[in-house]
Structures are given as structure tokens and as C-alpha cells.
């Protein structure tokens, strides 16, 4: 009998220490207990400047609404398994609300069911989740943003000519939408513009550089190049620079970053479309707070986008969304 009690006590102690470990190793919150509502945010990444800006926005909202947040994301935007791991541990902490930028919405589906069964409201951000469970989706309308890039490209090259696209990938929603939004706008509104090639550089600057160079070599009459994210756009800029073709092709990009801002200032790039990462982070937390209080929230919240170029990039409304 005595042995049994000891064993039970031992098991309890073990379980306790394990759960303590589990709590400590995930996220960077101070351990809770301060009474503030808690929003767990699982993002697609944290390394990229874009996610840092989303995080800044989320932290700002956390302050304004007096909630506690954790913000984590996998090492790369292809590491679905790691994100599922993070999602699991976030749910184990029983947050008051959960925000998720899903890398693979199908892989996340069972965990969303768990959230539902625990009555934890879920807010999707950055890209939608193929599920009924999230109460709201806070994201950029990438197709509309890409169409904006196409509109400016068409204007700059005078409505006719050849254009090529360096995209970041052909499988993710953002990759597809930023490609298709651009292509479709051109088809509909600029019949004189031919899209001669679309290639994918994975957002890797070095690969995108070599890729863009080959495209320019293959299409000597190219009038414009469009890069669908920061790495792709910088690849194009590098290629134009290495080939000594500044001014010969019109370059239009997406997102920001120090190198892209510099290229726009120096005239290497015509301009780019930026999302509103701070807005995404802020609206995500704001919506999560509303949802946990049982208030009605909109099903989709478009956080908008801005075209920026040399002329308007220093205006406060634009500048605050341009990360370096």
C-alpha cells in the first residue's frame, strides 16, 4: 500500500514537472497568472522582417486591449510539422483565443477541432484556412494587391510590351494569388502586354538573381519584370544591376525591406506593393479580443495594401508599413 502511494506521488510529481517544462519551452510569455486574457499567436515564421512587423502590430494591440500574447512561428515557411507542434502546445495552454497563419490548413484541421471543442475562438491571419472554425480571417487581398502592381507596370511601360514574372512559389496561396492577380489584370486591361515567362525562385535572393538573369537573356526585348515578394524583387534588381541594364527594364516588386527601398529610391525599381503587416498584427489581436468577449466579428477583414514609389514612400501612412 505504502509503495503504491509513493508511486502515485512520484508519477504526479513527474507529470507536474513535465507540464512545467512544456509550458516553459514554448513561447516567451512570463508564465501567466497576471490575470490578463491570453491570445496565443502561431505565425508562419518569425525570421522574416515581415513577420517581425506583424508581431509589432500584435504587440501594439495587446497593449491597447490589455491582453497578454505569445508570438511564435516555425523556422521556415515550409516546416508544416513544426508549426503543428507549436499549435498543439499553444492549445495545451488553454488560451482565451488563438490566432493562426496556417502553412497547411488541412494539416491544422484536427487541432482547430480541438480548439472548437475547448471553446477557444480561432482567428486566421495572413492567409485563410479552409475551415468553418475560424471566426474571422485577417489578411491582405493578394489578388487585388497584385492587380495594383500590374496596373502600375502597364502604366510605366506604356500599355504594351513584354513582361516576365519572378514568383516565390507555385503552391502557396499567396504565391498563386500574387501571380494570378497580376496575370489576370494584364489579360483583362492591357491586351498589348504579353507575359512571356513565369519562373519560381523560392524567394531565395541568390537563386532569383540567376533566374532573372537567365530570363532577361532569353527575352532581350523584355520591358518589365515583376517580383512577387521581397527575395524575388531583390533578385530582379541584382540581375538588372549585374547586367548593367538600369533604366532598360521596369521593375515592380512586392513587400519592402531595406534593399528594395534603396532600389526604389535610386530608380532601379519603379515601385512596389506593400501589405500592411502592422495592420495585420493589430487587427488579428483586436479581432481575437472581440471574439473572446463574444462580440460579433466580420468574417473577412481586408487589411489593405499600398502602392509605393519614390514620390510617396516617405508619407507617414506608407512609411510605417515599410520595414527595413
Amino acid at each position: 500500500m505504502r509503495r503504491k502511494i509513493m508511486a502515485a506521488a512520484g508519477a504526479a510529481a513527474l507529470a507536474l514537472s513535465l507540464s512545467a517544462c512544456g509550458g516553459g519551452s514554448t513561447g516567451n510569455e512570463s508564465g501567466g497568472g497576471d490575470g490578463k486574457p491570453y491570445v496565443a499567436i502561431v505565425s508562419k515564421g518569425f525570421q522574416h522582417q515581415f513577420w517581425q512587423a506583424v508581431k509589432d502590430g500584435a504587440e501594439k494591440a495587446a497593449k491597447d486591449y490589455n491582453v497578454r500574447i505569445t508570438f511564435q512561428g516555425p523556422d521556415t515557411e515550409s516546416n508544416v510539422a513544426q508549426q503543428i507542434e507549436m499549435l498543439t502546445s499553444a492549445l495545451n495552454k488553454n488560451p482565451d483565443a488563438l490566432a493562426l497563419a496556417a502553412l497547411d490548413s488541412k494539416a491544422a484541421a484536427p487541432l482547430l477541432e480541438t480548439a472548437k471543442s475547448k471553446d477557444i475562438p480561432v482567428v486566421a491571419f495572413d492567409s485563410g484556412v479552409d475551415s468553418e472554425i475560424p471566426v474571422s480571417t485577417v489578411a491582405t487581398d493578394n489578388k487585388a494587391a497584385a492587380a495594383e502592381a500590374a496596373k502600375h507596370m502597364a502604366k510605366r511601360i506604356g500599355g504594351e510590351g513584354q513582361v516576365a514574372i519572378v514568383a516565390h512559389d507555385q503552391t502557396s496561396k499567396s504565391g498563386k494569388h500574387r501571380r494570378d492577380g497580376f496575370v489576370n489584370w494584364m489579360k483583362k486591361n492591357a491586351p498589348g502586354i504579353e507575359i512571356v515567362d513565369i519562373q519560381y525562385g523560392g524567394g531565395d535572393q541568390l537563386k532569383s538573381t540567376d533566374l532573372a538573369k537567365a530570363m532577361i537573356q532569353a527575352n532581350p526585348k523584355l520591358d518589365g519584370l515583376y517580383g512577387t515578394n521581397e527575395g524575388s524583387a531583390i533578385g530582379i534588381v541584382n540581375a538588372v544591376q549585374e547586367l548593367g541594364m538600369k533604366g532598360d527594364v521596369t521593375v515592380v516588386g512586392f513587400d519592402s525591406g531595406k534593399a528594395q527601398l534603396k532600389a526604389i529610391r535610386s530608380g532601379l525599381m519603379a515601385g512596389a506593393v506593400t501589405q500592411n503587416p502592422i495592420g495585420i498584427g493589430y487587427k488579428t489581436v483586436e479581432t481575437a479580443v472581440k471574439a473572446m468577449k463574444g462580440k460579433d466579428v466580420k468574417q473577412t477583414i481586408d487589411t489593405g495594401y499600398y502602392w509605393y514609389d519614390k514620390e510617396n514612400m516617405d508619407k507617414p501612412k506608407i512609411a510605417e508599413n515599410l520595414y527595413k
Binding site: F46, Q47, H48, Q49, Q52, D75, T76, Q170, V196, D197, Q199, Y200, D204, Q205, L206, T209, D210, L211, K213, A214, M215, Q217, A218, P220, I234, N238, E242, L243, G257, K258, A259, K324
Partner: protein
């Protein structure tokens, strides 16, 4: 296998560059190199016919420049693979080296040459750690360098604070890769750097004791140890030497992008290893050559560039490169069957 048998099998098979290499072995090895070289020429001819835009001076210069980073990585890793090991840490390790170059030049404001040497030394130190883990602690190379791959990836992010480090304060840095020291010839320096690095690696491989022991350890480690060679010491040296190439690749990449990009690098190791294998170096160790690796790296970039010039969709580009790797490994197996 007992050590006596091992010693016997070493004297029987005559692999590698050790003293007992037969004439037929040498012929076969040059045949493999010839095959690789012939495939390269065939690819170049094919793409030249397929597209008039392939065989232009500026595109050829672009191909050579695109070979530089992967090529330099592949040079170092040729030593490791011939010695019977593998190094998975070269991709993210290269990134760590470019971040350290950024630390030396941009954060600390040190002179250009210090940044370059610092970057190369960072690679050598990583190699030293890899070599020590493998030789002294007997951790299998795959595991040791897999762990190092993750450590390097993490450290690159930690040190850079997850954002790129730019080299705006070191004006000459970009010229390191993209400038041209030979007036009148539009060959970027990065191409010269890989050429010099290849000559250096080739001479080290064929004329120095490091090269000889690389082959000897790769063909039969036990026999090499039995003949009185301090295998541990030489293994550490081989990994350290290879690491210096990782460092050089990091510096060249940083120079070409005028920035150290901490998120890059994962996957580059596999491309470098593929170049080594296509060049006829055996993953089993004991066989291979630097010239083969250079040809292998060129085959990879000619293939990628040519398919891009032809506007072949990305998906099929990957399939094509994969098929070439399979073919190269199959040829290597055929060759090995003949030898045994």
C-alpha cells in the same frame, strides 16, 4: 572484417591515389572524367541549338557566376566525400560565415581584408568542430554535420538578429565578387575566385600529403591507421580545410548580394553534394577528383540556365536535374562493378 583482411583488401583493390594504382584504374578514372566532360559539352551544344540566346558572352558569364557559390562549396566537400565522410553543414554554415563577415565589416567596422579572412576562418573553425566531433568523439559524419547544420542555421539568425546585414559601410566589398580585375574582359571576380580555389584544391588533392591521406582514409581507414597514420588528426585537418571553402563561399555570396542573408542556405548543401557526385566522386569514399567536381558544378548550372532560357516550367527543371543526378550515380555504380 579483421584488420589483416582489411589490409589485404586494400593492397588488392588499388583504389584511390595511393601508391599501388594500376594503369587500368587510371584509365577508368580518366574515362569517367571524360564522360562527365562529354556530357557537359553535349549539354552546351544542345542548348546552343535549342536557343540562340544561350551561347552569348553575357549568358556564359552569367552561368559561370551562378556556378561560383555552389562550386566553391562543392570543392571543399569533395575532400570530405573522398575521405569517406559527408558534410551537411555547408549550406547553412556558408550562411553563418557570411553573417560573421557582416559582423566583422559592418558591426565592428574592421578593414575589408579582415572581414574576408574572418569569414573564411569561421568556416575553418566550423570544419574543425565537425572534424573533432567525427574523429575524436566518433559521432557518425551524417549525424555530426546534421547537428552542425541546425546549429549554424540558428546561430546565423541569432547573431544577425534575424535581419539581413548590409555592407553599405564597406564600399569595396561588392567588387570582390562582381568587380573585374582583368581590364577589358567582362569576367566577374567571383569566377576568378572559383578558378583559383579550384586550382588550389586540385594541387592540394594531387600533390600534397593532405590529398594523399584523403584518398587513403576514404578507401580503407583501418588499413591507413595500421600503416601508422594518425587518422584522427588527418580527418580533423580534412574537415577544417574543407570548412575554409565553406567560408570562402559565404564571403562570395555575401559580396554578390551586398548583404548577409541569414535565412538562406538550407538546401545548398545538397546541390553542392550533387555537383560532387555528378563529377564522378564516389559517396563510398576513396575515389574522385577536383576537376570532376568543377565539371559537375558546371553541368548543374548549365542545365538550370539552359532550361530557364528555354522557359521550361520550374517543375520540369527539377525533374531534369534529378534525372541527371540519377544517371551520374548509375554510371558511378557501373564503374565500381567493373573495378571489383
Amino acid at each position: 572484417m579483421s584488420t589483416v583482411q582489411a589490409a589485404k583488401s586494400e593492397s588488392r583493390t588499388h583504389t584511390g591515389d595511393t601508391a599501388g594504382r594500376t594503369l587500368s584504374g587510371r584509365l577508368r578514372s580518366s574515362l569517367q572524367q571524360f564522360l562527365a566532360f562529354a556530357s557537359l559539352i553535349a549539354l552546351v551544344i544542345f542548348f546552343s541549338i535549342a536557343s540562340g540566346k544561350f551561347m552569348t558572352l553575357s549568358n556564359i558569364s552569367g552561368i559561370l557566376l551562378a556556378t561560383s557559390v555552389i562550386g566553391i562549396l562543392a570543392l571543399g566537400t569533395t575532400f570530405v566525400i573522398i575521405s569517406g565522410g559527408i558534410d551537411l553543414s555547408i549550406g547553412t554554415g556558408m550562411t553563418l560565415c557570411s553573417v560573421m563577415t557582416g559582423v566583422f565589416l559592418t558591426y565592428l567596422g574592421l578593414p575589408l581584408i579582415v572581414g574576408v579572412i574572418g569569414g573564411i576562418l569561421t568556416g575553418a573553425v566550423m570544419g574543425l568542430v565537425n572534424g573533432t566531433l567525427i574523429a575524436a568523439l566518433k559521432i557518425p559524419p551524417f549525424i555530426a554535420t546534421l547537428a552542425m547544420m541546425m546549429i549554424a542555421e540558428g546561430l546565423a539568425l541569432v547573431i544577425s538578429g534575424t535581419s539581413p546585414i548590409y555592407f553599405g559601410s564597406t564600399p569595396g566589398f561588392t567588387n570582390l565578387a562582381l568587380g573585374s580585375v582583368i581590364p577589358g574582359l567582362s569576367i566577374p571576380n567571383a569566377v576568378l575566385i572559383i578558378f583559383i580555389a579550384a586550382v588550389l584544391a586540385g594541387v592540394t588533392m594531387s600533390k600534397t600529403i593532405i590529398g594523399r591521406y584523403t584518398f587513403s582514409i576514404g578507401s580503407n581507414e583501418d588499413a591507413t591507421a595500421l600503416s601508422g597514420v594518425n587518422v584522427k588528426k588527418w580527418k580533423v585537418l580534412i574537415y577544417t580545410f574543407a570548412g575554409a571553402f565553406t567560408g570562402l563561399a559565404g564571403v562570395v555570396m555575401a559580396s554578390r548580394l551586398s548583404s548577409a542573408q541569414p535565412g538562406l542556405g538550407m538546401g545548398y548543401e545538397l546541390e553542392a553534394i550533387a555537383a560532387v557526385i555528378i563529377g564522378g566522386t564516389s559517396l563510398q569514399g576513396g575515389k574522385g577528383s577536383i576537376i570532376g567536381t568543377v565539371i559537375g558544378a558546371l553541368i548543374m548550372s548549365v542545365l538550370t540556365n539552359g532550361l530557364r532560357i528555354m522557359s521550361i516550367p520550374q517543375e520540369w527543371q527539377n525533374v531534369a536535374v534529378g534525372a541527371v543526378i540519377l544517371l551520374a550515380v548509375y554510371l558511378d555504380m557501373l564503374r565500381r562493378k567493373e573495378t571489383s
